[in-house]
């Protein structure tokens, strides 16, 4: 699996997030090179990504609430 070093700004919805979602790449923190922790919901969608070494380096939360309700 390809190792990719990413910042928060580089994790976009068009390219990177779908690739992470599909498990095509292994994302790592661009600042400390540590592996990024991927948190998935019950249905498999990613709801959080954070740096495993220091969450201040990278920490994204996704909120899918309304779509799951509707």
């Amino acid at each position: 699996m390809e190792v990719v070093y990413l910042t928060e700004a580089e994790i976009d919805h068009e390219v990177m997030l779908p690739r992470i979602q599909a498990g095509e790449i292994k994302p790592h923190c661009a600042r400390c090179k540590a592996e990024l922790k991927i948190h998935r919901m019950r249905d498999g969608r990613i709801h959080a990504i954070e740096c495993s070494k220091n969450p201040n380096h990278l920490g994204i939360r996704y909120n899918y609430k309304s779509s799951s309700e509707s």
Binding site: T7, E8, N56, Y64, K65, S66
Partner: protein, 281 residues
């Protein structure tokens, strides 16, 4: 010939003038030296500086007629302030012998260069300061609306603003964002499918995807949810189920105008445990 009475220095007599300017009979004169960049003519290699053929400045013409050719040169070249200042050390209009135009040109050029350098530095400094002020101001009040495409988006944005201003929970959540410098982005462009909003810890930004909401109130609800995440992130909290419970509880308070009761809190916990099972409590 024009003379000025009451001058403190005796003007040269017409007989002593060899320039031909004061004489009646026209005389062939050498070509006038070209003025320098400062507008001053350099001293000729031999003899005194002759008066100009024509003076635009009448006062310069007057002084030239009196024999103060170099002083008139300053006035004609527009160095009026300097000319006036030069009368102080000599306690009167300096004579041609007292005034060294070459030396004056050197000093004036240096002074001008210094002035230009100072102005450039001052401009650079002021630009840097203003850029910092803009940055500080943008960090203290950071709301961004992206990709507004039509009038309907503007109306929706205004409704969102009104809703934030009206509701005490939304207002407080928004003020928290202002206090910690978080940028609140309302994205009106094409949203990622199913995504209401996101919170970016390092970027210190929350994004609300407005097109995935049915009303301004729903968009504000998502903003309130994300403000809870980013505020806890800002305080160093780790990602866990409690984080989500807090965010949903804050949403509940915004929607209902009251805190969730015990059963409602249990329902929120049950939902979080079900959907976010991979997180620790």
């Amino acid at each position: 010939m024009t003379t000025v009475q009451g001058s403190r220095r005796s003007p040269p007599t017409p007989a002593a003038c060899t320039s031909g300017h004061h004489g009646q009979s026209p005389r062939v004169r050498p070509a006038e030296p070209e003025p320098s960049a400062l507008g001053l003519r350099p001293d000729p290699a031999e003899g005194p500086l002759p008066p100009r053929d024509h003076y635009e400045n009448l006062i310069a013409q007057n002084y030239a007629d009196q024999g103060y050719v170099k002083f008139a040169e300053l006035l004609e070249a527009g160095h009026v302030c300097a000319a006036c200042h030069l009368t102080r050390p000599t306690n009167g209009v300096p004579t041609d012998q007292q005034l060294d135009l070459e030396r004056y040109a050197t000093v004036a050029s240096l002074a001008r260069a210094l002035r230009v350098t100072t102005e450039i530095l001052a401009t650079g400094y002021m630009s840097a300061v203003s850029a910092m002020e803009v940055r500080i101001a943008s960090q203290s009040f950071r709301v961004t609306a992206r990709n507004l495409s039509d009038g309907l988006d503007e109306i929706t944005l205004r409704r969102i603003g009104e809703e934030i201003a009206r509701d005490p929970v939304a207002s407080r959540a928004y003020r928290q964002m202002q206090d910690q410098g978080t940028e609140v982005v309302f994205e009106f462009g094409r949203p990622p499918p199913g995504l209401d909003g996101e919170a970016l810890r390092f970027e210190n930004r929350i994004i609300v995807y407005v097109q995935n909401h049915r009303s301004a109130m729903e968009a504000v609800r998502t903003m309130v949810h994300e403000t809870s995440h980013i505020h806890r992130m800002y305080r160093g909290n780790i990602v866990n189920q409690l984080d989500e419970v807090r965010a949903f509880s804050r949403e509940f308070v915004y929607e209902r105008g009251r805190r969730p009761a015990l059963q409602e809190r249990e329902a929120i916990w049950a939902r979080v445990r079900r959907d976010y099972a991979d997180l620790g409590e």
